[in-house]
Symmetry: C3
Subunit: 205 residues, 3 copies
Amino acid sequence: MLLHILFLVGLVAEGMTGALAAGRQRMDLFGVAIIACATALGGGTIRDLMLGHYPLLWIEHLSYPLIVVAAAMGAVLFAPLMRYLSRLFLLLDAIGLVVFSIFGAERALAMGHGWMIAAIMAVVTGAFGGVLRDMLCQQVPLIFRKELYASVSFVVALIFIGLLHLGVAESLAAIVTLVVGITMRLMAIYFKWSMPTFHYQHPGH
Amino acid sequence: MLLHILFLVGLVAEGMTGALAAGRQRMDLFGVAIIACATALGGGTIRDLMLGHYPLLWIEHLSYPLIVVAAAMGAVLFAPLMRYLSRLFLLLDAIGLVVFSIFGAERALAMGHGWMIAAIMAVVTGAFGGVLRDMLCQQVPLIFRKELYASVSFVVALIFIGLLHLGVAESLAAIVTLVVGITMRLMAIYFKWSMPTFHYQHPGH
Amino acid sequence: MLLHILFLVGLVAEGMTGALAAGRQRMDLFGVAIIACATALGGGTIRDLMLGHYPLLWIEHLSYPLIVVAAAMGAVLFAPLMRYLSRLFLLLDAIGLVVFSIFGAERALAMGHGWMIAAIMAVVTGAFGGVLRDMLCQQVPLIFRKELYASVSFVVALIFIGLLHLGVAESLAAIVTLVVGITMRLMAIYFKWSMPTFHYQHPGH
């Protein structure tokens, strides 16, 4: 299944960005592995906890954390090459974001939740791994300030759920959503689209 | 029910303080919405996760996150006014703290837990949303340093549980607790009451 | 049971290191108590949440948080003495790390999980309390940079599970693991053994 392969691509990409973030904090290899797992699997873990879905994704599929740790170690070994691959990374990361979001929405729908919870779970699955990474590495979560990221996740979920609602087959809906979502994310990066930001300076509470 | 209306007041107040904290980090509107939800609903979410109570509060009542997001967007729109409302905010925040604490204790009691767990869950519900907000915005959680805050939550729970134990009707117990708790919090702010702090300078551990 | 006594020793040690970390941030006594609980009980809490094991450890055994808070208040009272006890602390902390790890692995095994999940849960139980403490106190988690720490947790779990697998009685396996684990941790500190670190400087991702 295409979507499953792209999910693995997403795991690898997220694991690598997690490893690089850990490397910026000069962590040891064990820390690198943990930050990589938090980045790649943290969103799905928080989603499963919120939905009360047990066993957690990575406890059911032990191969996932193993793939993530392997990807992280690959990033460490080939770190000097990483700077030349930053464009490729943006693509892989976009794939990961969209696939994770689709899977997040799917799980919520499968558990009988409505479209709003499904869209929220898409954002949690797609974006909260990065939030966890940034919190563990002591940075204000980037996704709340960068080009459309969490919002791509949200829109992706709405498109996917809308298509399902219109009677489109799940696999076709997934592919259409994938193409639209990745295009949207890459255009946001290229054209520097972003949500309006809120800047508030008053001190105190 | 008065308590329910005050709960909604609390959601609005917490959502707004979350939005302002996000604005101090120049987040985009999606980030503002997420920080607002983490602030207003994070405490109840952590409580429900700790108690294993599913579905989570905001998954059961989707109107709550919608109210919080609306309040956050209101704070963005009327940001220039916010500095003139800081006293009003302290009152609304105090109401939120006390009502959230009462609801947290009630849920633990309803699940058959004893008074100690109920008091802990009051603190978790009342204060941990703010902790989550501060962690996401990269600040040492304020509530551990400010005037009585988490401790108000704890005392409020003890009063509420004590009144129930004495056979006072739940609605009367809630109102008495509310009045005492809000008064206590406002007096703590006015008179700058605070817990003794612990200052330790030795490096290492 | 020896292991249970050492578990209480670990709770006291972790509660005290949590209190000292809170003191470095000049928190009030309520904050000190919460940071101490997060440090000593946070790892086990995250583990129980991940495994879906309810009630959580400290909800089932209310004496544990009470012991932790008492230890934290002891650290506050005797703070001036703490600097002279840092070696003793390293030993107590090592005991805590190893016992927590064994208990974490045991719980996963008791719930029917395999050795890999058990080893991961050992790390979560042994090391994530410290991660939570560092996140709440706004520091990059130390355990990802220090001498072997989380890795001791992992190795300890593998030894313990391996011994059980070889048919060694659980109590004997625990004692052997304890001796090996504590020795390993102390030698890592003494000889400054550490995992290789990953240092990555390229900005962006």
